[in-house]
């Protein structure tokens, strides 16, 4: 590939034909879901998002939510692990349970002809998981294997170091999988407790896309989720993020070093967030034409990929990026990053850059919905960031309305070259640690 796909990028841009395509459905039992009807293919995608996730594990039970989630499709009701897997395959059901650092998510795509049976199987997994000894030990073994692998994986080591430094005593400083000790100690009771913490109505977001109408959706939603308790434990606290310039080197034998660099960012509901999207696009978010890619890759060949992203969340926001470079050139590459950070903070961008960024960001907006699954994930994201249901209609207008003065003011606010925390793993030359 000519370019590494930007794995850091948090896409809040995406495309429907018209906002009227999204309808809010309220079930008889009072559950709300955002729905896009798409009848041309006989499939339905359902996404559920339960906020909280690993971040509400007690520290001494870290990893309980990940293990619990990994066991939801390993036996439920009168089906053991094998029975559940057979049932899922017979329905040709695509069903995945997963976690991110602050949520448990369910993604399911089903054939229309199997809709009722598919929803019944999901209901069984959510309401009556068995947590049998055999799958429990097997999945625990897989998680422990992953933790061992992470201990020799430079990117995983780097990610942990960054999280510990940035998040302090917030749950995001921990590994969501837990530690070998906590995972080894988890019992079936811990999993039942994690299950009770995870699945509550107050932290649920629902998106549905596909071959189903608003009228058809309400009753199945109540069947599937009407059992949820209102609330159990409180949601995670906000992170107390602050800036503290530092440069940390983690020695690791490898021909190439990898670096992350970041400081505090900007919240999604901040009035300057839209301008920050433009700033990020021009600095490092926009692929091969971004300033950082031009300077570090195109002009000097120092990296295969460098990118930046707004890492904004409701718990606290960061701004930063990542790159890999040969050990001998990492110092030079990071010097260029700092210089570009300072140049954009001081001098801002040009009208030409702003015009090009607007054309790209508004033009690419409708491209990103490529399939029901991506639309469903976008609908979840819109609801989580509390966007209005007609946000899609408005979003390009918000970008168009930005002035050069506004974007440059936000560039100066967002970019803090003197506050960058830099973490490098490898054997980099030309990088001086702060301590």
């Amino acid at each position: 590939m000519i370019r590494l796909v930007l794995i850091l990028a948090i896409a809040l841009a995406a495309p429907l034909r018209a906002a009227t395509d999204i309808v809010e459905v309220t079930s008889p039992g009072g559950l709300t879901a955002w729905l896009v009807e798409e009848p041309s293919i006989p499939i339905v995608t359902l996404n559920l998002h339960f906020e909280g996730g690993p971040a509400i594990d007690p520290p001494e039970r870290a990893g309980a939510t990940v293990l619990m989630t990994g066991l939801l499709d390993e036996g439920a009701g009168d089906r053991d692990a094998q029975g559940f897997a057979v049932a899922r395959e017979e329905l040709a059901l695509r069903l995945g349970f997963s976690t991110n650092r602050s949520a448990v998510t369910v993604g399911m795509t089903m054939l229309s002809e199997n809709r009722a049976e598919s929803l019944a199987l999901l209901r069984s997994a959510l309401t009556e998981p068995r947590f049998d000894p055999e799958p429990l030990e097997r999945v625990r073994g897989q998680i422990l294997s992953g933790l061992r692998r992470d201990q020799t994986n430079p990117r995983a080591i780097l990610g942990r170091a960054v999280n510990r430094a940035v998040y302090g005593d917030h749950p995001f400083a921990r590994d969501r999988d837990g530690t070998p000790d906590t995972v080894s100690g988890l019992t079936r009771e811990d999993l039942l407790a994690a299950h009770a913490r995870a699945f509550t109505r107050d932290r649920l977001t629902i998106a549905v896309v596909g071959d189903i109408t608003a009228a058809e959706l309400g009753a199945p939603l109540d069947d599937l989720l009407g059992w949820l308790p209102e609330a159990t434990v409180p949601p995670p606290a906000d992170a107390d993020l602050s800036d503290a310039a530092q440069t940390v080197i983690i020695p690791f034998a490898s021909p190439q070093s990898t670096a992350r660099f970041l400081h505090t960012g900007i919240d999604r509901d901040d009035p300057d967030y839209i301008a920050a999207i433009v700033v990020n696009h021009i600095l490092g978010g926009g692929g091969s034409l971004s300033r950082l890619t031009q300077e570090v890759r195109e002009e000097r060949g120092l990296t295969y990929g460098i990118s930046t992203a707004l890492q904004s969340s409701s718990y606290g926001s960061l701004y930063g990026g990542a790159l890999s470079s040969a050990n001998a050139t990492m110092g030079q590459a990071l010097d260029l990053v700092r210089a570009e950070w300072a140049r954009m903070a001081d001098e801002g961008i040009s009208q030409t850059e702003l015009d090009a960024a607007k054309m790209y960001l508004t033009g690419a907006f409708p491209l990103q919905f490529n399939g029901n699954g991506r639309i469903a994930r976008y609908l979840i994201g819109l609801q989580l960031s509390r966007r209005p249901i007609d946000y899609i209609d408005r979003r390009n207008g918000l970008i168009e309305a930005l002035t050069l003065e506004e974007v440059n003011r936000v560039a100066a606010r967002l970019l803090k070259p003197e506050a960058l925390r830099v973490f490098v793993i490898g054997q980099p030359e030309g990088v001086t640690p702060t301590e």
């Binding site: 293919i41 057979v86 097997r138 073994g141 490898s254 790209y360 033009g363 491209l367 029901n372």
Partner: protein
């Protein structure tokens, strides 16, 4: 319009409701370029792809990596669209673009608003024959490719192990060379190497155009005629005949040790059939065999090694039916704590022998078939994936008809077919067995 629609093909399955989404309209330009249109009117988006029937396996010995290197260089400009103007124009029109290289093909694609198709066709056609390079540009991009090699291969033990295994496996076929190239050969790739490769292989008679999305096929053909039909054919396109691997007479084994390996891995591969034009039945049987052995949670190897015997953290099978020349059928297992590689391999062999002896049941096969059939419906939901299915097949020497037939060929596979193909594949003399171990692990 000079084009004739030489085929208008609708898949017999899935059901009528999806037929309109499942149609490919194909044509060929007088200069030999194939054109395929896949309509999907759900969103005002188009995916435009050009596939060249050239990849790493078409390189001459000593020049490994040139196909992939050239893919990078194709973004360096032409006389009329110099420098990075190509990407500036795509970006200014809100489009996205990228490219990828394999052993059998090199492909370039853009995703853009459907009314910008004319622009991307003009740009892609221009760089098919008019690329401008300089030794300086080539030297700079070589550094980027070497960094890419560090990132893709050297940064993970699995990447190094896979590269070493392929080299041992394919003693004569160029599938044994890494797509990105051996480091020492990338370092020596020159401006002349790139230009020679480009002039020979980048031409309409070696390319397939695929346009998928919110388009009118007749308009696509008109645009293709305007932009691609004037391009000159390559007159020195060599026949695509690669050196083939001999029938091996000795089993081969390799052990790769790496400090980053935390759980031992055992892999085994065998020569396997591949899809050939009009002759896909044996590859379909091998595909089903891979599904039944290791394709899902209820497949034989995970069931025996992960669940019953608990000697593996994971186990499975891997087979890709679509390639220009025959590739390999692979099985693998990751050792559970305390299980040595040799013991794991022995259990893998026993599990395989049991499978060959008792075989899968009709119910097992029916379940796999239901899933494969559903996958065809799910695949309709992705524009890029649909386009890629055709691109990979055509670059592998298959026809549009073969692509359309494939679902039915898969559904026609019987248990007897699977047993027959398994008996042919699992010949120990042809096997390559690999261990990936930590520094202290016993074999």
């Amino acid at each position: 319009m000079r084009f004739l629609l030489i085929a208008l093909i609708a898949l017999a399955w899935p059901a009528a409701a999806t037929t309109a989404l499942d149609r490919a309209i194909v044509s060929q330009l007088p200069n030999g370029m194939d054109v395929i249109v896949l309509e999907d009117r759900r969103a005002p988006v188009v995916v435009h792809m050009v596939w060249y029937k050239v990849g790493a396996a078409d390189e001459v010995p000593g020049k490994s990596g040139i196909a992939h290197f050239l893919e990078h260089l194709l973004f360096k400009g032409t006389d009329t669209v110099p420098g990075d103007e190509f990407q500036r124009l795509i970006e200014a029109n809100g489009g996205q673009d990228n490219a990828f290289t394999s052993h059998d093909y090199t492909a370039y694609f853009q995703r853009i608003a459907a009314d910008r198709l004319d622009l991307v066709m003009r740009l892609e056609a221009d760089r098919m024959r008019n690329l401008v390079l300089s030794p300086e540009i080539v030297a700079l991009e070589r550094l980027v490719v070497l960094e890419e090699r560090n990132t893709r291969v050297d940064a993970s033990p699995g990447g190094v192990f896979a590269e070493q295994r392929a080299a041992v496996t394919h003693v004569n076929h160029p599938y044994g060379r890494p797509i990105i190239g051996w480091r020492h050969e990338i370092e020596a790739l020159s401006y002349t190497d790139a230009l020679d490769f480009y002039r020979r292989y980048y031409a309409p008679n070696n390319a397939v155009l695929i346009v998928a999305g919110d388009v009118d096929p007749a308009e696509v053909f008109q645009l293709a005629e305007r932009h691609y039909a004037p391009l000159a054919r390559s007159e020195d396109l060599p026949p695509r005949v690669r050196p083939q691997d001999p029938v091996a007479l000795a089993e081969r084994r390799l052990v790769y040790r790496d400090a980053r390996v935390t759980d031992p891995v055992v892999t085994r591969s065998y020569p396997a059939p591949h899809r050939r034009p009009g002759d896909q039945a044996e590859a379909a049987a091998a595909f089903m065999l891979a599904e039944l052995l290791g394709g899902t949670r209820t497949a034989h190897l995970p069931e025996v090694l992960e669940i019953d015997e608990q000697v593996a953290l994971s186990a499975g099978a891997s087979f890709s039916a679509t390639s220009h020349d025959p590739r390999r059928f692979s099985i693998f297992a990751v050792a559970a704590p305390g299980v040595q590689a040799a013991k794991l391999e022995a259990r893998l062999d026993t599990a395989l022998a049991d499978f060959l002896e008792t075989g899968p049941t009709q119910a097992d096969l029916a379940r796999v078939k239901a899933r494969v059939r559903a996958a065809q419906i799910y695949a309709l939901d992705g524009l890029d994936g649909r386009a890629r299915r055709y691109g990979v097949a055509l670059a592998s020497g298959l026809t549009v008809g073969d692509v359309q037939d494939w679902p039915a060929v898969l559904q026609a596979v019987t248990l007897a077919d699977i047993r027959a193909v398994a008996a042919r594949i699992f010949d120990r003399n042809q096997a390559v067995t690999g261990y990936m171990l930590g520094p202290e692990d016993a074999q």
